[in-house]
């Protein structure tokens, strides 16, 4: 048997963090409080530049000091029509202000008004506070700079352009990972006492710019290792301008921007007289789909009635958004003065389950960031960065403590690594269908059924996804390493698409972002439960897990979806 060294570069580390975005950095920095060697690997650029958060506005949900946490928890639970781990939401909120202070200490700016930090409540709800990144459009960049600066001080190691294909599992524990460099033919074998997955979610490479990199490989890695996934039926939809990119719509809506259809009608007023346009994006996407069906499309965002001082506040000041904004003005496009066409796209979706210390159901494997699902598809501004900070810190702590109690795996099964390496490079150099074509085919099959679901369109899409897997994917080729990585991502997306469609077929009701036209009524009697799935000896193992109401503080709640007038008659 060959030595591991002859198969690739072998690297030993106490804690391996897969993904160098916001949560990966939080996790690595925290792990260093407990253990010496922490290594981050990322498929993208060098430290400080990777991941979605970099491109975000850096807006942050936080519970202001002295404010009752219960009201905040109740509003979030209502947003998800009750399907929330209430205790986890409370735990996130209780530490959120400390994270905001951490960011400020790193030099990250937030908007102020009358000497106080300014926040804007989200989605028409009262009890949440989204603090505004400053300068407008560059908050995420500054957060990444701050965290990367800390990581460098702490001696966190970092490898970029490294695509992890498999976790190594021995004696039922995760003890490392293997992957390849996407720019040179170089294979890596990582031995680790603990592994933290912080690789982001799955946007199916949708059209919202900073999520375009999110293929869900972290979800596939978790699933293949046997970890539980859940909430797969709850896809999150996003809204975007059709002809340019935008960051910060989360504030435009509460500040008075409205959606209109081709006829100039404020169509959201009909779907929700209470919230109108200022609501969760899934409901806007759903209304758009229904309007389109009735022939009233396309759709526009009209910011003209916003107050001049709010337009100024929202005008991109630095970074990529400012550069783009200057280009728009030069091209005669004035987003604050004239209505612009908008549409919908899938956002980063994630489905990995863990306990509240970020331990997945597989020993040695921890999860951080967006990858750890909390929400049944709904979203509100600033929540992601709030969650990623919490989860990163907790995952780093749990993995660091766990790694201290473990010894470095003495021996790794060489045969297993040979197989993984062969499987990784099997497609390299092969001519065939361009991965881009496979990606577009997949998107054309699944995107149309993400908003308005029914038994017929879900079943049809599932059949098509199975065809892509069995007939199109095997014909795809990867003439070079770049396309090999792309193809690996498509493999992840095909798996996730199948799981999403199957879970969507199972949930025979409508709740939060999941809308079944054939079961449009919420059914609390039968469906206050989660659908979980894992990989049991190569088979999909679905299970229902009831909401543990007996141990939750809040036994009843208002349901956000009750504020919308979508058809409510079961077909």
């Amino acid at each position: 048997m060959p030595d591991l060294d002859r198969l690739g570069e072998v690297i030993e580390t106490d804690v391996l963090v897969i993904g160098g975005g916001l949560s990966g950095l939080w996790a690595a920095n925290r792990a260093r409080d407990f253990i010496e060697n922490v290594l981050i690997v990322d498929k993208g650029p060098p430290i400080g530049y990777a991941g979605e958060g970099y491109f975000s506005g850096g807006n942050l949900q936080a519970l202001p000091p002295g404010v009752n946490v219960d009201e905040y928890v109740k509003d979030i639970v209502s947003l998800g029509d009750g399907l929330y781990e209430q205790d986890l939401v409370e735990k996130i909120l209780r530490q959120s202000w400390d994270r905001l202070e951490d960011f400020r200490e790193m030099g990250v700016g937030f908007e102020e008004e009358d000497g106080k930090l300014k926040y804007i409540p989200q989605r028409g709800l009262q009890h949440n506070a989204c603090y505004i990144g400053k300068p407008s459009g560059a908050g995420g960049r500054d957060m990444m700079r701050g965290l990367a600066g800390e990581a460098n001080k702490l001696g966190v190691k970092y490898l970029s352009r490294l695509y992890i294909t498999d976790l190594i599992k021995q004696d039922n524990k995760v003890i490392g990972a293997v992957g390849f460099n996407i720019r040179e033919e170089k294979f890596y074998i990582f031995k680790a006492k603990a592994v933290i997955l912080a690789a982001g979610g799955c946007s199916f490479r949708g059209g919202y710019e900073d999520t375009h990199m999110c293929c869900g490989e972290g979800i596939e890695l978790a699933f293949n290792s046997g970890a539980d996934l859940f909430n797969l039926e709850f896809i999150t939809m996003w809204i975007i301008p059709k002809k340019f990119r935008w960051e910060g719509v989360t504030f435009l809506l509460p500040l008075g921007a409205v959606f209109v259809n081709e006829q100039g009608e404020h169509f959201m007023d009909r779907y929700s007289p209470i919230f109108k346009s200022n609501c969760d994006y899934n409901f806007i996407a759903r209304a758009m789909a229904m309007e389109a069906r009735a022939g009233r499309y396309p759709f526009y965002l009209d910011c003209s009635d916003m107050r001049p001082e709010d337009k100024k506040l929202m005008t991109p000041a630095e970074g990529w958004t400012a550069l783009m904004y200057q280009q728009l003005l030069k091209a005669g496009i004035r987003p604050f003065e004239e209505r612009q066409e908008w549409t919908a796209t899938p956002w980063t979706n994630s489905f990995v389950y863990s306990d509240h210390e970020m331990r997945t159901t597989v020993p040695g494997l921890f999860v951080a960031g967006i990858l750890r699902n909390v929400d049944p598809g709904i979203y509100f501004g600033g929540w992601s960065i709030c969650k990623t900070a919490a989860f990163g810190k907790w995952a780093g702590e749990s993995a660091g403590i766990y790694a201290n109690s473990e010894s470095m795996p003495a021996r790794i099964n060489d045969c297993n690594i040979i197989e993984l390496k062969q499987a990784t490079y099997a497609l390299l150099g092969k001519t065939g269908i361009d991965p881009e074509e496979v990606l577009r085919e997949l998107q054309s099959v699944i995107f149309p059924v993400f908003i308005l679901k029914n038994e017929t369109n879900l079943t049809h899409a599932l059949k098509k996804v199975e065809e892509i897997r069995s007939t199109i994917l095997p014909q795809a080729g990867a003439p070079d390493l770049h396309r090999l990585a792309k193809l690996k991502g498509i493999h992840s997306m095909v798996l996730i698409a199948e799981l999403v469609l199957r879970a969507s077929l199972m949930r025979k009701e409508s709740r939060a972002s999941h809308y079944r036209e054939d079961y449009p009524v919420r059914d609390d009697t039968n469906w206050l439960k989660w659908i979980k799935v894992n990989n049991l000896d190569g088979k999909l193992n679905f299970q229902y897990v009831p909401l543990p109401l007996d141990k939750y503080k809040h036994k009843t709640w208002n349901c956000y979806s009750d504020n919308f007038k979508f058809p409510k008659q079961n077909v």
Partner: protein
């Protein structure tokens, strides 16, 4: 999407290649300068244009090669 790299101004420093999240850019082995290797993967993040010390890179706001939003039209969401 990225529309042009001005070869006359490019010094081959490689910053854009380093920073590209989507691995769109590479250095040409013949002249050592940056070129667009995988245009279809550009996500219009502007990072290359913002960080080029020579201002040699043009990115246009129109995400022409990002196909992936929902196309709303009559019947689009009806049963397949």
């Amino acid at each position: 999407m990225i529309t042009n790299i001005n070869k006359a101004n490019c010094t081959g420093c490689g910053i854009c290649v380093d920073l590209c999240n989507m691995d769109v850019l590479r250095l040409d082995s013949s002249d050592g300068k940056a070129y667009i290797a995988y245009l279809e993967d550009c996500m219009t993040c502007f990072e290359c244009a913002l960080n080029c010390p020579e201002g040699a890179i043009e990115v246009n706001f129109i995400p022409e090669f990002t196909p992936s939003s929902i196309v709303f039209h009559q019947g689009a969401n009806d049963n397949a």
